[in-house]
């Protein structure tokens, strides 16, 4: 029973930490008013997804998936497919972050603040006196 539990913990620790990090990111996105902080939270969320995927591709005793020259019997490689998917995700992630940051700059120009509650307040004020 206790060895089962130990195996369960050591076998799933990476996935659990990925989920916890994901939730920290989600908490920042949901609870903070500041738009830049929200984007940083989104980055944490995203990186935790990379950790989840790359952890799934790992094989015990495996090495990075690059062929070893001058060997007839190739060693065990970790799974390259999650790596490829995450490479694409990183690049798409920086594109969305950059777009989000440029929107933040535009919001600062328009409302003179990047705090969500203040933006909402100034919108309400505009609506009351048209």
């Amino acid at each position: 029973m206790s060895t089962d539990l130990l195996e369960q913990v050591s076998g799933h620790f990476n996935y659990w930490m990925a989920v916890i990090l994901m939730m920290v990111g989600l908490y920042v996105v949901l609870s903070r008013h500041n738009l830049i902080k929200k984007l940083v939270g989104l980055n944490i969320f995203q990186t935790s997804v990379f950790i989840l995927y790359v952890s799934m591709g790992k094989i015990h005793g495996g090495i990075a998936p690059i062929y070893v020259e001058g060997v007839t019997e190739q060693p065990v490689f970790s799974n390259p497919v999650p790596h490829v998917l995450m490479l694409t995700a990183i690049v798409v992630g920086i594109a969305t972050t950059a777009l989000g940051l440029s929107l933040v700059v535009l919001i600062k120009k328009t409302f003179n603040t990047i705090e969500e509650d203040e933006i909402q307040a100034s919108l309400d004020k505009k609506r009351r006196k048209p």
Binding site: H12, H33, P65, A95, V104
Partner: protein, 188 residues
């Protein structure tokens, strides 16, 4: 040893993330996010994903941090001291979602298990044949650029779209002041 390194890095990542939630100075937050990216890049090396690691180090810790610092220069340096939005609701949402996801991981195969289903579909083909079929020693590169070339093209389209969007957003309002004096000069 491998596992210990893994665990230490994950705990350091968690501590960085918690520090990031608590800090109010946005400059510190951006710097911590750079550290977070660099730590995760180190973790990716421990997990054999060297290509992901150097991309994360260059893009996540490098470009992303620079872009955020640029935004800070154009906006503000500090987050205002307001209580969290929506009271206890975000914490509740996070708890419920987190427990659902944790429950879902219990069914997953163990970490590093070579018998996991993920290692028995498509991956064996790439590992065994990609060297002969594409002539590239790095399997990740051959999958990215050759077998899944169309995906990579789609990714490039995403970057192009984002660039057009950023130019449309930030380019706005910059041209107008330049045009105005020009028009005035033309009208008698």
């Amino acid at each position: 040893m491998e596992m210990m390194f893994n665990v230490i890095l994950l705990i350091m990542l968690l501590l960085t993330a918690i520090g990031l939630v608590r800090k109010r100075s946005l400059f510190a937050v951006v710097m911590l996010s750079g550290i977070y990216s660099l730590l995760s890049a180190t973790l990716f090396i421990a997990l054999d994903a060297v290509d992901v690691a150097f991309t994360e180090a260059a893009v996540g810790a490098g470009i992303s941090t620079v872009l955020m610092l640029g935004t800070l220069a154009l906006t503000t340096r500090d987050e205002e001291e307001t209580p969290p939005k929506g009271g206890i609701l975000p914490l509740l949402v996070v708890m419920v979602t987190g427990s659902a996801l944790l429950y879902a991981t219990i069914d997953m195969p163990n970490f590093g298990d070579p018998m996991a289903p993920i290692h028995h579909f498509m991956a064996p083909h790439y590992v065994e044949h990609s060297g002969v079929e594409t002539g590239i020693p790095n399997i990740v590169t051959s999958v990215l650029a050759s077998y899944r070339g169309y995906d990579t093209m789609g990714e490039t389209t995403v970057i192009l779209t984002a660039t057009i969007g950023i130019l449309a957003i930030l380019g706005r309002g910059r041209k107008r002041p330049k045009k105005l004096p020009h028009r005035k000069a033309n009208t008698p």
